[in-house]
Symmetry: C2
Subunit: 123 residues, 2 copies
Amino acid sequence: MNKLRNEPPLHRVQLRMRAYRGEDIAVGPGKIALLQAIAHTHSISAAARELGMSYRRAWLLVDALNRSLREPAVATSTGGARGGGSVVTPSGLALIQCYRAIETTAATAAAAHIEALKRMLAP
Amino acid sequence: MNKLRNEPPLHRVQLRMRAYRGEDIAVGPGKIALLQAIAHTHSISAAARELGMSYRRAWLLVDALNRSLREPAVATSTGGARGGGSVVTPSGLALIQCYRAIETTAATAAAAHIEALKRMLAP
């Protein structure tokens, strides 16, 4: 379905997933956006700039994410000719895919109910 | 699926829906919880107490919700022998049902991906 064509831009429905480990959010939209930015910038600091957050905050999010997973999502190398960098690991890429699959599958399955809810909104 | 039996309580995944009208959240989990509390207490102030929020905040949420819908979700009567009260309208009840249907349908459809994501979490 083409969102630009079929939906008035005023009304938009968002389905967001958060995975908790105990009281903490292990995985949520912010961490996934950060992972995606690291995946294409290969750098926590460049990803932080792209998302308008401090390096410190990005680093803390990556550290918390890595600790909450069986296998780390981001691997950082230091030194070397290009001064090191960060890469999203295969596990991290699988996490991004899984997260997006949840969002897409959920939105597709609930599409009829979502349209019904949109029709209840004032124009 | 019995959550208590099949899932370690440590790991829990939440799919939450928010409907936007322009920049504002017209419908989200907080307003739906408030509507449900009004539906069984027949009172905005009792519902506010139940949810641990101020009467003023509950009233503002109800007012914002009513304005963002084609038909109001809550109707309030004043005066009368019992001092009036608030009821969730048929439209409001339909909104609650629709919201819950979105959550349930989404979670059911994405269940396999959700389980896969849970397996990525540290034990």
